[in-house]
Symmetry: C2
Subunit: 283 residues, 2 copies
Amino acid sequence: MITTVSIAKTKKILAEARKKGKRIGFVPTMGALHKGHLSLIRKAKLENDFVAVSIFVNPTQFAPGEDYLRYPRRPAKDKSLLRKENVDLLFVPKTDPMYLVDHSTFVEEFDLSRFLCGKSRPAHFRGICTIVAKLFNIVGADNAYFGQKDYQQAEIIKRMVRDLNFSIKIKVLPIVREKDGLAVSSRNAYLNYREREVASRLYKTLHYIKDAALKGKRDSKKIIKKAKEMLTFPGLTRIDYVKIADAKSLEDVKKIKGKVLIALAVYVGQTRLIDNIVIDVKS
Amino acid sequence: MITTVSIAKTKKILAEARKKGKRIGFVPTMGALHKGHLSLIRKAKLENDFVAVSIFVNPTQFAPGEDYLRYPRRPAKDKSLLRKENVDLLFVPKTDPMYLVDHSTFVEEFDLSRFLCGKSRPAHFRGICTIVAKLFNIVGADNAYFGQKDYQQAEIIKRMVRDLNFSIKIKVLPIVREKDGLAVSSRNAYLNYREREVASRLYKTLHYIKDAALKGKRDSKKIIKKAKEMLTFPGLTRIDYVKIADAKSLEDVKKIKGKVLIALAVYVGQTRLIDNIVIDVKS
């Protein structure tokens, strides 16, 4: 595995791989790698001849007061994990060359970004689109891999790729979960023992909504009210949102029908956790 | 010369050219081609193995009430000109597939765009950055060619390319002028005989400022005042701006020193014309 820090060197290595006709898979990450990331990397290894992984904790997607500074950073452990996966290139850029002091260009999506996490984190997806556009331009991959845990992010990136005519295929892989259903996430590392236990309620709540919908309940408002009651529990500090949304437009649905996204964001202690499931409700 | 309308087909042809190791030059235009465009195309032909030209009157860079609808369109004449120049590919996309009904992603530069034309045309450079990013992704060229007449546009595109890590070199070529100094522009076609005569005052005014600065005058405010008096003339309907700005930051300079941009935008009849010169004033 080659590890690069320089943007120019990374471009050069990837240009050479492309010249050799290699199909390139790319997995952008913020590090603190877990089973979810590994599932993306393994899929990328299966579908490509050359796999690049980036680790970059992207400042522009964090608002002031969010967890940019304390976001888990474990470069040595990550590197050894990636080596075991036979990743071809690990790109770990520094922040300063990625965002020069007079950086002034941003990519923003204005439709899907209005909902869900975009409401409580207003500049978040602008930061995501900008860094992903940058990384796509640096790596120049055929395929890029994202996790469904960040469902809205994946939809926004697909929209960006379509709207800006990037030549990259976006592949979204299923959420990887712990035994009790908790979606794996780098932020789970923030949870203490008690919080970790409480966090398993997220998936149970999603499942409650799913079961209700599949059993024929259609009224989102009623189901969400019940779900929020389930989340009212010591240690579950704050509910950001519980939503049943159209899986394509991300807009709230009043009557559940067709492909819907059931998504939630809650604070467990100081930690903001998100999770979702997508279901298809035949009418 | 191959002419393409389809985005996918254009991508495919260019991917094949790249695979053959061809160096690709790209000249994005809005058509109504003139000597300025031809100078870009000839330079592109000299420096590359494969030259692509696009013609697309980009709606997102026009504000409501601007000249989007009446912008000169001369597809047949343009095509025959490009054929004579041995252009390899002409890309003439339709508006609908370029901006799908639910298009929602834009690229915006927030620093250099604040000045000059960005002040009077607030969404203009957002439209420019978005379409240029799209075209760069579709064509995937090594070099792209722009005219210095749109000095601010070229600086913003260079900034965008740097900030978003595009792998394309931006080449900016000198303004081509008519005998009386008027910068060639597709919009000159709007001018009637009388207006055409009046329009030559733009270049004379720039020259007045240049001469004053090179003769040792340093006070921008005084020189600009005099220049605006020169532009107060029947037929010169409105002065949008006359500016002496730092050639890099585009911010106004009070004392002329170093590399400065002398730029103006005025209305001749209904037609908005811009022009500029860059001078280097040794202290």
